[in-house]
Symmetry: C2
């Protein structure tokens, strides 16, 4: 597990791994807390404002880790799943992986002179934003297959890692991975510190996320569930074996696919799930279906000033990217899921800055 920039290495102790400055700050907070409560501990969710959302997380961990509580969950059963786009990092104005795919079209264009006159590539190469905004699922599939397949799995991983290591989001002029929400990283670390395995369950590409998941989220490849193309086991020229990426969708990890793929990979529902859009509805329902203690949360983007505002109760129209319908909002209320207000619940959004 790598250190995550801007986040104290060990929110609940073990100062050995900390930088000196962090250790001193942590020590001060610790001493202050000890003086008041008589037990060691600091706030594990410092980027969260006090409120129902933060309390729901703390309460969930409290009851599921207390062996005398009827809602106790055995350590071997502790699993939490996190959607990525819009839940773990910024998804507007467009999903990061779509920017990656468009950048790959531009990079590969010299090898494909026919793209200049062939849609959907033509619109990407000419930067025709109006045309790109109207791309269909079939258009995106053509772009994904042209840019994400036809190479070995190792070659693709290297391409994705290179891109994510340098590409910047224009609004903040920061790396896309800097736009991971600090409050959500704190939740991940807090859950792990309490014995939970954390998984990403994304409609985005499994292998795209794997290219940075360990470094950015502290989550290994085996805990990344996502949309995937088929791979084909082949023999190279010298008899060495190569897994090639084929232009055929194997897993569509969105909507019902999230519940189905969680079952495929894990074998049962998680105890906690975090999402932000209709693509996460079934994942949260499936989590709740497990019975016992469970935690279902949806991030609502209602902070136009610090990030973006879309979805119900924002006074703004919904969007195609990260759709949060009124129906989902109503289901959340009916099923007692927690809605996280970015504006109200998050003290701070990113690790960079202040």
């Amino acid at each position: 597990m790598k250190r995550i920039k801007g986040l104290p290495s060990r929110p609940s102790g073990r100062p050995g791994a900390m930088a000196r400055q962090e250790f001193l700050a942590f020590g001060g907070a610790l001493l202050a807390t000890v003086g008041l409560t008589g037990e060691a501990g600091s706030d594990p969710l410092p980027s969260w404002n006090d409120g129902a959302a933060k309390q729901a997380i703390l309460e969930f961990v409290r009851v599921t880790t207390d062996s005398s509580n009827p809602k106790y969950v055995a350590p071997s059963q502790r699993v939490a799943t996190f959607d990525q786009d819009g839940t773990m990092w910024v998804e507007h104005p467009i999903y990061t992986q779509v920017v990656f795919a468009f950048d790959r079209v531009i990079a590969l264009a010299p090898q494909h002179p026919e793209w200049k006159t062939t849609e959907p590539f033509k619109s990407v190469l000419s930067g025709d934003k109006a045309a790109m905004a109207k791309f269909t699922v079939k258009d995106f599939e053509a772009i994904v297959f042209a840019t994400h397949t036809g190479m070995s799995v190792n070659a693709f991983s290297a391409i994705a890692a290179d891109w994510i290591g340098t590409a910047k989001q224009p609004r903040w002029n920061h790396l896309y991975t800097d736009l991971v929400y600090l409050p959500m990283l704190e939740v991940m670390r807090y859950l792990r510190a309490n014995g939970y395995m954390t998984y990403i369950v994304t409609g985005g590409g499994q292998d795209f996320v794997r290219a940075y998941s360990d470094r950015v989220y502290g989550i290994p490849s085996r805990q990344i569930i996502g949309s995937a193309v088929e791979t084909q086991y082949t023999y190279g020229k010298n008899g060495q074996t190569v897994l090639m990426r084929a232009p055929k969708l194997e897993l569509n990890d969105n909507m019902s696919g999230k519940a189905e793929d969680i079952y495929l990979f894990i074998g049962g529902p998680p105890q906690a799930a975090f999402g932000n859009s209709t693509g996460d509805q079934q994942m949260l329902e499936y989590t709740q279906s497990g019975g016992g203690a469970c935690l279902m949360m949806l991030v609502l983007h209602d902070d136009a000033q610090r990030e973006y505002a879309y979805g119900p109760a924002t006074g703004l129209p919904d969007t195609k990217v990260g759709t949060f319908t009124q129906a989902l909002y109503d289901e959340a209320k009916a099923r007692k899921w927690s809605v996280i207000s970015m504006k109200q619940d998050w003290k701070r959004l990113f690790a960079f800055g202040s």
Copy 2:
């Protein structure tokens, strides 16, 4: 992780979890060893005879867990995969799951009067062994879809768990799960005690194995990779959500499929892999392709007296069940994979008896 019958709970220490008797026996062995070598430790593989196979396992663990060794493997990267049929338990005269499927045909026959006159069900119901021996892949698929799909995932798991809890193998008159090889359980536990995650990677059904994997192998559902049918997320009569098993193959986890599915689930090759047939060839090749320290082993069934004999160098013809061709044997030698001779390398086969 459950206790496995007949195997000491903690082969390398931590007596707190042991039964008293085991603890005393372990303590005695420990003291004897300390006196001779000056370091604590007992034989982690007591059911193995000394020989090249046992040494290969011990050496692999030694070099990959010694941080000063150039072949050291970081704990987060330690993964070992095990085929099931013929590698972890007896696969002759026929795979256990096939017996399960035939038993299910018999159990479900009253609800399907048409089966009396429809193949392949007719042959199963009439006990026509000659006809069953000639079943094609399509015949088996028809039987699997009729017996393994059309119910919820939870219903299937309960059916499989019930069956495996009572059905007995006729030759030994023991539960099928008693026919797990004690030497291989020792390898699994030894690897886990040294930081390796253990996975089952089986051509058999993922969910069939999940019904007993925790109890029998100490392996949780999320570390079972296997052939799988598609599941479909549906809503029940009262709005509750149900994952239904559909009659469509999603993963065929055999041959090349093993390498492809290991990549899908784990994201890269394991460091060690254990198999016994041509269905495991690509898994072992893929393991070796990762470079660095790796261990590839094949179990050869050459013990007609204690179990069965088939495959090369046994003097007996090969079989359709667990095929171990001469070509695979030659590849093993060329690639320096270890071949485990059941007859020579295993002191004891099962936990029952003595």
